[in-house]
Symmetry: C2
Subunit: 299 residues, 2 copies
């Protein structure tokens, strides 16, 4: 079954201890959709400016990603400029130029409103709610957010949480939103806000999954070389949602497997800048890493 | 099969965000032996001062821990004073009074020199080598160390590593000793120093295990309340070695299970000050947490 994702398609300028790249393809919807495209058809709802390179449009098309909902607006594409020090867990923002993203008012094309799997990537929670309002009976909705929206639009965010199946956030955000420093308590508090499940992302330390009846802990896939952590969280969501959509399941066992696939897509993502590494792998590589994941965690 | 441990038996004064305790039972050999005593007979080689409370001696005896190698020396018992902030991963030392430990020259009682399982807890690597020299054909030797010895006695430490089966150290120490910031590369470099296997402890993020042919990643057992992290690493080693000694195995599969038992003993340890929590649990509690560990990591 196909997935609808609403989020950003951006051009990034990134510096890490291993190099520097300017105006490379980025954005939450980008990383999500390319990761998920290994499993299923994905349709993007986003906006770019007139400067958005044609080669990037072609790249999406080659992956079979639907661009019917990608509006080309007057102005420049959303641009993020940032860097990472040796602590690759922390992104430092130099500049965020919203550009055409400032007036982003997501419209879901009529024929995509029946999409059963929906990912609301990290954007203004009011826009996430607007998208959700346009959908007709989605089967599974996942949502990502960030510290900025928790600080500035907590009410809006809280308002939609009871319509969310899987709420993804990182450990700092979970602590901020819940007011609890312990992550078990933080997750329990967030579950009381309404989502059916919470996934807490801990970067190189893996993820924690909590639902009312289940709890799952997954380490991250250990890597020898990390070049650029940008997009890891969205690629994780892409792998997770891609697997769930392809398997047409959303039960506890499927979510656990999906979390492993998500971790694997994230692990490939950080091995190069932008989506370069994702473009060089096949489903066979993903399956290989999945089997290795089993081996290194079995006891 | 019984285990011989050489290390410290101490009195600690500890402050954490959750309370403060003075002159409580501590030391690497203490945490190790009490954790391992759930599985097998343990004999301690250590030294205490004349001030060492009788009730602590009784406590070891009650657990069946052999004290033949515990020398009572003229002077005061080793005393560590420290505190933890909310970041419970980092111990801050206020004072280390070595006292009788300054002249510690470990002598393994004649009838214990045949012990097949040996744990060299974190002490001067020259003393670790002396103990190893007194043993007759141990089957499995594990060693713990710390940043202080890496900084000040790296040659001595390096000299014994090729006689070690399992080398335990934390992530910062692994980076320091290897000069590699990436933990896979750090472990590979350390394996080249000679130990058959390396276990890198990452506190609340679990452990990584590396040998020439195998690699295992275990998350830590997640807890709602952590009162005092002191001793977690030694209790981990105690659970690991206790399980290996009891099962009389040392193959890859046994080490993986032992790592889980170690993680569980560590998880109980940090739920109260000193060894208090360990004294309140039974093998049934340990098995219960082992089963839960399986459930929360299965996919």
């Amino acid at each position: 079954m196909s997935i609808l994702v609403v989020g950003s398609v951006a051009l990034d300028s990134v510096k890490t201890p291993f190099g520097r790249r300017d105006n490379i393809l980025g954005g939450s919807a980008t990383f999500f959709s390319i990761a998920a495209s290994f499993f299923t058809k994905v349709n993007i709802v986003a906006t770019v400016g007139e400067d958005f390179p044609k080669k990037n449009v072609e790249l999406f098309k080659k992956r079979g990603i639907g661009l019917e909902g990608l509006a080309v607006s007057k102005g420049k594409t959303f641009h993020w400029k940032g860097f990472y020090d040796y602590d690759l867990n922390t992104a430092h923002t130099i500049a965020t130029h919203l550009n055409v993203f400032r007036d982003f008012d997501p419209k879901v094309p009529a024929d995509l409103r029946d999409s059963k799997y929906v990912f609301l990537a990290n954007i203004d929670p009011d826009l996430q709610r607007s998208v959700l309002g346009q959908m007709r009976g989605p089967r599974l909705v996942a949502l990502d957010s960030m510290n900025y929206w928790i600080s500035n639009k907590e009410r809006s965010l809280r308002r939609i949480l009871d319509r969310i199946d899987i709420f993804l956030l990182n450990d700092a955000e979970a602590r901020q939103l819940s007011g609890e420093s312990n992550l078990i308590r933080a997750a329990q508090a967030i579950l009381r806000f309404g989502p059916k499940a919470v996934i807490i992302k801990r970067g190189e330390y893996g993820v924690l999954y909590f639902s009312k009846g289940s709890h799952f802990v997954a380490p991250a896939y250990l890597l020898e070389s990390i070049y650029d952590p940008t997009g890891a969280g969205d690629a994780f969501a892409g792998g997770l949602m891609g697997y769930l959509s392809r398997s047409r399941k959303a039960d506890d066992s499927a979510i656990r497997k999906g979390i492993i696939y998500g971790s694997i897509l994230a692990s490939f993502t950080v091995e190069d800048f932008s989506v370069n590494r994702l473009l060089s792998i096949s489903m066979k590589d993903i399956r290989g890493r999945y089997e290795r994941f089993r081996k290194i965690t079995r006891f």
